[in-house]
Amino acid sequence: MAPATVSDSVPIETAHEDMIHDAQLDYYGKRLATCSSDRTVKVFDVVEGEAQKTTSGHTLKGHTGPVWQVAWAHPKFGHILASCSYDGKVLIWKEQQGQGWTKVGEHTLHTASVNSVSWAPHELGAMLACASSDGKISVLTFKDDGSWNADIFNGHAIGCNAVSWAPAVIPGSLITPQSQSQPTVPSQGSAPNQSNSVKRFASAGCDNLVKIWGYREDSQSWVEEETLEGHTDWVRDVAWAPNIGLPRSYIATASQDKTVLIWTKENATAPWTKAALDPSSALASPVAGATMATAVANAPAGKFPDVVWRVSWSLAGNLLAVSCGDGKVTLWKENLKGTWECVSDMNS
């Protein structure tokens, strides 16, 4: 196969009036939601990797500041989007038959910009975690009638930048057949596999820390379970990898300190260990652009040429996309020796 691949596609013209901060594909990858500094959220249908030309998309208006992030709920809850903004609000949007997209909820408990929203794995029910510059994290638990309970607690001093949920099923315990072994208790709501599932997420903060939060059923509260120390500047993004069939858990974090750390936990009781992605390994690229080569050459080992803004896992959790401030997206895979290699380098 050719070493340099050209990805030819018809771009979706979002017609946002300002820069896009986030774009998220829905569960099936059939719809694209984008949000922008122009204070709107837009939704497009995607057919075969291209925007449907017949529809210009829907524009969702309601925020009064730049919209930082959007998140799709699992389709078993319906077509639902959450968005968060500089205006300190989290809005919940729902597409209803015949009515299009309407705002069905407004979460206003934060006192500063809300930087990140993330839906819990569907097995846990409709739950949304939000991270704010006010230093707090909130978790909304939706009820059948669309109302919600909110838990809000201090997360990171100075501010929280991102949240990401752990898979609902603890790695290694997923082989248990769901049907026969656990009779479900209807009153406990929509989590059919309660004893196996876990409510847990990671947050990234301006205190250079990554924190792991777990829900305690006995005290009905969120507890800080672990703190991951390793970054030397703001942690910009955190992404908990989906289960990949191993007893191991992975978290990727991206930071202002120009590093991406991969945190690995061998099993439920083991400690988290960290490893930095090493972009200098990407130099093996036969046609790596001169910019990349020189930039990397100037950066110390284990460091990216610029701030790393985003990390995103593929569906199977075996591929990590890293967006760096140097204008490149790199794709990473863990090789058989357990080291992370850059497998692809995407140029704008």
Binding site: E13, T184, P286, D306, N347
Partner: protein, 709 residues
């Protein structure tokens, strides 16, 4: 592993303006797509102030695939070879029910050989198809004919070396190797032969001796005999004499396939070698000065040929080098001339010796795969194969593992066996084409827990054609068809949890489309009682929002589900209860529409007395009874039934006065536009009045009854 470089087309940023982009506080961001192996890529600011409103820009989002999506002939190739893959796995599955040693039996090996030969034949077909100059309706070839030729040569070599016919594992391999070489690397060319045979004195052509050497080396007896015969016209009598001796020797070279016992073959080969020695002795008698013709030293060339027949290794090697032949030819000729009894297990040493002097071409992956296979290094062959084509490494590894060629131990880091590693990597590539999900998961589900986990993620996302534009028929039919298809696959691979998730999503979609019948049956199928409850609430909401007629229509669709549920033992009785209520309540409205007021009245009482109706629906039922209480001349309720209605009415009034009105009045309240609890209670007063009148009528009525009896 070198990183792959992907460029966007059209470019997001014009070349040369990249630095400008970064300096203006922007970079590209990407988010992975669950649909296929692609990323959605867009420009985003790196600083909050980096956003600069620019009305010229469209702020586009690109989709960039990190795999080359299979198209045209490649799709066909993938789909058809998967059929062989599935049959092969069917065989391996059935092996699990046998003795563990069965896989090593001739019967099993015969089957594995058969499937591998199927692969070879199929690749060959594809190569021929790709080679034909013809208009291609499904677009230009994605992979060249030469690519399929490479796959063909590699897979057939694998079969020759590692999957001999059962019972022939220890047979000499030389002839098989030479046959493989002659099929895949045709030398000398037919054109050369045609040219030379058209000449009167072909030996005068400079290509004559090289040609004759090559056909000798390749064991192409027919061609070599033809040209030896032309030499009978050569001016040198010495040469003529020698050729007269050589022809019968070449003609009589023993071929393994003509012998039933290897012992006989070995004996014949030894005797034949003696005859070759005799030629050498005869040659040496030719005086030095007679060894030339007008063009060259024919004796030297003939000596090379005799050297080949004698099996002189240095001669074969030198001749090959002169002819531009490579190590493969030396190894194959070795098995014919140097050691005609060369075994597969000894080939490794021969290959090592030859490759030491004539190494494989490191720039040619096909050659590297061949050399690894010759050298008995299957894992190395896999590594090169994975660079040539993920298809090849996956299918190699899939056959190699049951043959015991690969370590089956899982890698401690990835916890994947070698086989699973290569098969999964192929499956991941297949995911670049989501329409091939069935093929993708077939490979994934053959790869243990990790593969199952990945396959599940794909299976739960098989589009249910939720958007009307994608549906070939009505949305309901489309969903039903898609769910059925996925359910079947789930059943085949025993992915019950996946099936349930898919049913849950389908149920939610059906509710949106008000297809409650289907929604209920999906909830039941998923044994998702919580969602079932929610669907029933939606149906009951129809009553609140759209009135009795619409409600009755919708609820009638779920009636068949009640029977289905009652026929199974379900612990979630509460939801069944609610379902029964919805159905029976709709039945009341149906009775009313059909003017069967007796049945309607009787059912209202039953629903209340047996507490099938939830408390919040009691007031609604009571309001419904008003019409019946006031019905014409006939008394529809027995007085005990009327008393039941009254007692429920009392309970509601008392509880409402105690502050629990919400438990009872919420539904009725919602049916009154702009109304609250007060209005609801007002409405219940009408019921109370109707009941009072009814009791009055009962008193008179009972007199009438008494009179008539």
């Amino acid at each position: 592993m070198g990183a792959q470089n992907i460029n966007l087309l059209p470019p997001l940023v014009e070349s040369g303006q990249f630095e400008q982009l970064v300096q203006s506080g922007q970079t590209i961001s990407a988010t992975t797509s669950p649909y296929d192996n692609s990323l959605a890529v867009f420009l985003s600011p790196t600083t909050v102030s980096g956003s600069n409103s620019n009305s010229d820009r469209e702020e586009p989002v690109y989709f960039a695939s990190y795999d080359v999506v299979p198209s045209s002939e490649r799709r066909l190739f993938i789909a058809d070879t998967q059929v062989i893959f599935s049959m092969f796995h069917g065989m391996l599955e059935s092996a699990k029910s046998r003795e563990p040693s069965w896989i090593q039996t001739p019967e099993a090996l015969e089957l594995m050989r058969k499937f591998s030969v199927d692969y070879v034949n199929f690749i060959k077909e594809c190569w021929i198809h790709a080679s034909q100059p013809m208009p291609r309706t499904d677009g230009p070839l994605q992979f060249s004919a030469d690519h399929y030729r490479s796959l063909y040569s590699c897979f057939s070599l694998f079969v020759v070396l590692y999957l001999p016919e059962p019972g022939y594992e220890d047979a000499p391999v030389g002839e098989d190797l030479m046959e493989w070489l002659n099929i895949h690397f045709i030398e000398p060319s037919t054109e050369e032969g045609d040219h030379l045979s058209s000449l009167d004195r072909p030996w005068e052509d400079e290509e004559f001796w090289p040609y004759l050497k090559r056909v000798t080396l390749r064991g192409l007896t027919k061609a070599s005999l033809f040209f030896f015969n032309t030499l009978l016209q050569h001016p040198s009598e010495d040469l003529q004499d020698l050729v007269r001796t050589i022809i019968p020797v070449v003609e009589s070279q023993p071929r393994l396939q003509n012998f039933s016992a290897e012992r006989d073959f070995a004996f014949a080969s030894r005797k034949w070698k003696d005859k070759v020695k005799a030629i050498r002795i005869e040659m040496d008698r030719v005086p030095e000065e007679s060894r030339f013709d007008d063009f060259e030293n024919w004796w030297d060339s003939l000596s090379d040929i005799v050297g080949i027949l004698e099996g002189r290794n240095p001669v074969i090697q030198r001749v090959c080098e002169e002819l531009g032949a490579d190590w493969k030819e030396v190894c194959s000729a070795w098995g014919i001339f140097v050691d005609s009894r060369l075994r597969r297990q000894d080939l490794v040493d021969v290959a090592a010796e030859v490759l030491e002097i004539m190494p494989a071409d490191p720039t040619n992956l096909e050659d590297m795969i061949h050399s690894a296979l010759f050298s008995g290094k299957p894992e190395q062959a896999l590594r090169y194969a994975s660079q040539l084509d993920a298809w090849l490494s996956a299918h190699f590894a899939d056959v190699m593992e049951p043959l015991g060629l690969l370590e089956t131990d899982e890698n401690s880091e990835s916890e994947l066996s070698k086989r699973d590693e290569y098969v999964l990597s192929y499956a991941e590539y297949l995911h670049s084409d989501p329409t091939q999900w069935k093929i993708t998961i077939a490979y994934m589900y053959s790869c243990g827990d990790i593969g199952r986990e990945r396959g599940d993620e794909i299976l739960v996302r098989v589009p249910l054609r939720l958007h009307p534009s994608e549906a070939p028929s009505t949305p309901e039919e489309a969903i039903a068809q898609a769910v059925k298809e996925v359910s079947e696959v789930c059943f085949n691979y025993q992915r019950e949890a996946v099936r349930r998730t898919v049913c849950r999503i389908a149920a939610q979609t059906c509710v949106r489309q008000k297809d409650y019948g289907l929604a209920v049956s999906y909830c039941i199928s998923a044994e998702d009682w919580v969602s079932l409850g929610r669907v029933i609430d939606s149906i009951l909401d129809e009553y609140v929002h759209n009135g009795a007629a619409e409600f009755a229509k919708q609820a009638s669709k779920i009636a068949p589900s009640v029977q289905e549920l009652q026929s199974r033992t379900v612990s979630e009785a509460i939801f069944v209860h609610r379902l029964i209520f919805a159905v029976r309540y709709s039945q009341i409205h149906k009775y009313k529409l059909e003017q069967d007021f007796v049945s309607a009245a009787s059912d209202i009482v039953t629903l209340l007395r047996e507490e099938i109706a939830p408390k919040s629906w009691w007031p609604v039922l009571l309001c419904d009874s008003v019409e019946l209480l006031q019905y014409g001349s006939t008394l529809l309720f027995a007085s005990s039934d009327a008393a039941e209605l009254l007692s429920k009415l009392e309970e509601i009034s008392i509880r409402a006065s105690q502050g629990s009105g919400d438990d009872y009045l919420s539904v009725l309240t919602r049916t009154i536009k702009g109304g609250g609890e007060k209005e609801a209670l007002e409405r219940l007063k009408v019921v109370r009045l109707a009941l009072a009148r009814y009791f009055a009528r009962c008193t008179i009525g009972s007199d009438r009854h008494a009179l008539s009896t």
